[in-house]
Amino acid sequence: MAKIHVNTTINGAPTEFLCDANQTLLDVLRDNLGLTGSKEGCGSGDCGACSVTVNGRLVCSCLVLAPEAQGMKIETIEGMAQGDKLHPLQKKFVEMAALQCGICTPGFLIASKALLEKYPNPTEDEVRYWLAGNLCRCTGYDKIVTAVLDVAADMRGSAR
């Protein structure tokens, strides 16, 4: 079967790729485009390790078909730092040891960024429910939730 030609924008850069009709966005990011920061933990949308945003909406890229990316703006973990400057969430995750093995970290960062863009002043419960689609087996979530709340406070400019 002929490949499908897709025009999209990934991390701000116009990007085109050829894919099979049944390929997922995650597979194209990882296998076709070499963007291996998005991880496959389950392939069924249960772990969130493959989280990206499509036109600003948080999705599991393992549940998106690659041809659906046509004309969309995709943001992945590779686009989160600006030049040599880490995003405040990235910086805080390292500072506060909000990761141990690090496999879930890209997904948590993408999901947390999407949260703070939509709700800059979340409660702890809101952070916990927003991140309930991302599995972490190492940290028990404590330091992740604390880091996100801290960044939210910093970004609002109100010291806690």
Partner: protein
């Protein structure tokens, strides 16, 4: 902010140890730059896929691969015939042991398929799609046999026998007929019978647990590239790349020196990545095709065919005097090994009463095979299972005696000099201090909310040392590289660099820790047993000391004095003794700049078999409530305390306590392997195998109690495993106190808990 309490025992003593700098691999891991198992590719690589048995137990009569091989794009198909058979030889894997004869049968079924998901063949093809098509073309002629899943059933006479050669080891009288009971072990101290006769109160209870999975988020993945001259390179997500090398060398019949394994970043392991599954298959396929072969497991494969931790049945009997002094204890553990012998029943038995100083103890354990995937280590393997039973029974005893559960444990706590039932006498330990820390905590002092329950439980783990190698190199500018060989699974690069910086007296940021492949550093045992910061940390410290010795020689050479008259202080060589003040100190950078003229490069190295691991004790306290209608548990407050030796990087020590506690909460409340009548796993995915998510949990408060290990220069104790031991019973005890219903079967999931609440309703209503 979550409440984290650190009680350092080393205040002011150290410059770097006990601080919380950014981890050296932090930037890589928050940007997606870090490369994990599935992130490695080579030009021209093939994709390998495994055909797995659909049956729980079946004879493999024949395998016809001809149609698969004929498919365009298929480059090779392998079966057990492609691997030499292995001798009956026991080898260590982390804290457990496996038999080479079994390993080769586990990576590829030989005579029989022994569990659903057991590999029977593998293919290498130009794409995943072609590989999948090829799997469908392999014809396996099975003779399906009766199967057995449950441990108690597997132990019964007349149960389907998995291995005709298996005679129960340790049986008395000696076994003469094949059995699914691979081994019987016992530990005795004093006279349990006499102890129970003397007891004023005896509590006896039976408990069950189900198999659970380690649940690492990264599935197994490997890439192998075999060259025509016999050399093989492998990239693998593993807790022990030397272990991968050693196993694969045997499985393929090649020298270890022919195999070079590079560990990728590892996305969790918890013990489950201390064995090999895909690596030998990918290597063999690569040998056959002359191409690199990449293999990854789908999540479903991870559940069906890798790692689980065993379930088991535990009988506990505790006898005490009315003042709470325990005079006798008995524990009998029947544990799933999976399809091949080798469950962690030994450590389960040894840990069962290790928290307590008890005069008369009897412990018996059975290692039982059944048609399940072969179990692998999972964080303090075995200990959570016996602790769940023992600590629940302790809680019943506390209730019966109307004693505070911490006071009961304090009255019986193990201390320095306590002799365990398995024969070891404890050196300096922190069981009492850890109990006291919880007793003194704001959490424990706060009133329990009406309708809620508070549970307390303790736990023990040995921790291990074993073989480690490390090297330290001074760069031309005086900055330092520290090289070791243990995959960093939770921040160990940071702890190793902190110890090196402390020892050397230089800035933490001047030390770069590197994890080398199997060809670039001496042997290192697996990342497991809570050993890396302790044992590999000691190797790093010794390698730095070796380097400092050389640095002093160089300074002495420059100053033309005796090396004995040089000391190393704050990152500089200084003249000492009668030479004090004679020369300006020489920094690392000064000495590095002159290295060429004073004897060449300046390196240090160390290799040792590390003994003296300090055991750890944990005490957890949880407040929760139970929904009376649904049986759903809400955890409201959680505190984990532990004697952590010295917290080298306290944030990552807290992280171990928090992560272990939450895995234990999952084990207690939701996680279980569910098999159907055909012996097939019904929940091989994260939707139906329900691990805790952020919204299930409160903050996890920690108390780091520092009781330094006297047998380590910085007092390090392993910390990673203890935290998963207490939580299951802590949760069960809290449920019992919240509802009046004592749960004895895991998991305490909503259906099981609501059924128990319903059954107890008449009694509970009468009590009200």
């Amino acid at each position: 902010m979550s409440h984290q309490e650190h009680r350092p025992n080393t205040e002011g003593k150290y410059k770097w140890i006990g601080t919380r700098p950014d981890r050296p691999d932090g930037a890589d891991k928050v940007t997606g730059r870090a490369r994990f198992g599935a992130d490695f590719n080579l030009p021209g690589q093939l994709i390998g896929k495994v055909l797995r048995s659909p049956h729980a137990h079946a004879v493999i009569k024949s395998i016809d691969t001809s149609k698969a091989l004929a498919l365009s794009g298929v480059k090779a198909v392998i079966t057990a015939k492609d691997f030499p058979d292995q001798p009956n030889l026991i080898v260590p894997t982390g804290e457990m042991q496996v038999n080479m004869r079994d390993i080769t049968r586990n990576i590829m079924a030989r005579e029989k398929a022994l569990y659903e998901g057991h590999p029977v063949a593998a293919v290498a093809a130009v794409s995943e799609a072609v590989a999948k098509q090829a799997l469908a073309l392999i014809k396996v002629d099975y003779k399906v046999l009766p199967h057995v899943i449950d441990v108690a059933e597997a132990m019964k006479p007349g149960a389907p026998i998995l291995h005709d050669h298996l005679l129960t080891e340790g049986a008395s009288p000696p076994a003469t007929k094949p059995s699914n009971i691979a081994k019987r072990i016992e530990f005795k101290k004093g006279d349990a019978k006499a102890g129970f006769a003397q007891a004023e109160v005896v509590i006896e209870k039976d408990y069950t647990t189900q198999a659970v999975h380690q649940g690492y988020i990264e599935p197994h993945a490997t890439l192998a590239s075999a060259a025509e001259d016999g050399q093989i390179q492998v990239w693998s997500t593993t807790q022990g790349h030397f272990q991968v090398r050693g196993f694969c060398a045997r499985l393929l019949g090649v020298d270890t020196s022919q195999i070079r394994v590079t560990p990728t970043e590892i996305g969790g392991g918890f013990g489950g990545k201390t064995v090999v599954y895909l690596e030998p298959l990918a290597m063999r396929l690569s040998q056959k095709t002359g191409k690199p072969v990449k293999m990854t497991m789908a999540r479903e494969d991870v559940f069906r065919a890798s790692g689980p931790a065993p379930g088991g049945n535990v009988k506990v009997k505790i006898g005490a005097m009315k003042d709470g002094r325990i005079v006798a204890a008995e524990c009998i553990v029947e544990m799933q090994a999976g399809a091949f012998p080798g469950s962690p029943v030994g450590p389960a038995c040894m840990c069962s009463f290790a928290c307590y100083d008890i005069e008369n103890v009897y412990i018996e354990g059975f290692d039982v095979v059944s048609n399940r995937p072969k179990v692998a280590a999972y964080r303090a393997p075995g200990a959570p299972i016996s602790a769940w039973a023992v600590e629940s029974t302790m809680d019943i005893l506390a209730q019966r005696l109307d004693m505070d559960p911490i006071d009961l444990r304090l009255k019986n706590a193990a201390k320095a000099g306590t002799k365990t039932a398995y024969g070891v006498t404890f050196n300096t330990i922190g069981m009492v201090e850890t109990l006291q820390a919880v007793k003194d905590s704001e959490h424990y002092k706060s009133p329990v909310k009406p309708g809620w329950g508070r549970g307390v439980a303790a736990g023990f783990w040995f921790n291990i040392g074993a073989d480690s190698s490390a090297a330290s190199h001074v760069g031309e500018d005086g900055s330092v590289t520290v090289i070791s060989g243990n995959p960093d699974i939770g921040g160990s690069r940071a702890s190793l660099a902190l110890m090196a910086a402390e020892e050397l007296g230089v800035d933490y940021n001047k030390v770069r820790p590197i994890i080398a492949d199997t060809a670039s550093i001496g042997f290192n045992f697996v990342t497991g047993g809570s050993r890396v910061t302790f044992a590999t940390g000691l190797a790093v410290v010794n390698s730095v000391r070796d380097m400092i010795r050389e640095l002093k020689v160089r300074a002495a050479k420059i100053w033309k004095i005796d090396p004995e008259a040089v000391i190393w202080e704050n990152g500089m060589a200084k003249p000492a003794g009668n030479q004090v003040g004679t020369f300006e100190p020489l920094s690392l950078a000064d000495l590095a700049a002159q290295a060429g003229r004073t004897g060449g490069p300046i390196n240090g190295h160390a290799q040792l078999n590390v003994t003296g691991a300090g055991p750890g004790f944990g005490v957890h306290c949880v407040d929760l409530k139970v929904d009376d209608d649904t049986g759903c548990v809400t955890v409201g407050r959680y505190t984990a305390a532990q004697d952590v030796g010295t917290a080298i990087h306290p944030s990552y020590v807290e992280g171990q306590l928090q992560g272990g506690a939450v895995q234990g909460v999952g084990w207690a409340l939701n996680e279980e392997y569910i098999y159907n009548a055909q012996g097939k796993l019904e929940n091989p995915g994260f939707l139906d195998y329900r691990m805790p998510v952020a919204s299930d949990l409160p903050k996890i408060e920690t108390i780091l109690v520092e009781v330094p290990n006297p047998q380590h220069p910085y007092g390090v104790r392993g910390v990673g495993e203890v935290p998963i031991v207490p939580p299951i019973a802590a949760v069960g005890n809290a449920i019992a106190r919240a509802t009046g219903v004592r749960m004895v079967d895991l998991p305490m999931s909503p259906p099981r808990l609501s059924a128990a609440l319903d059954a107890a309703r008449p009694r509970r209503m009468a009590a009200e």
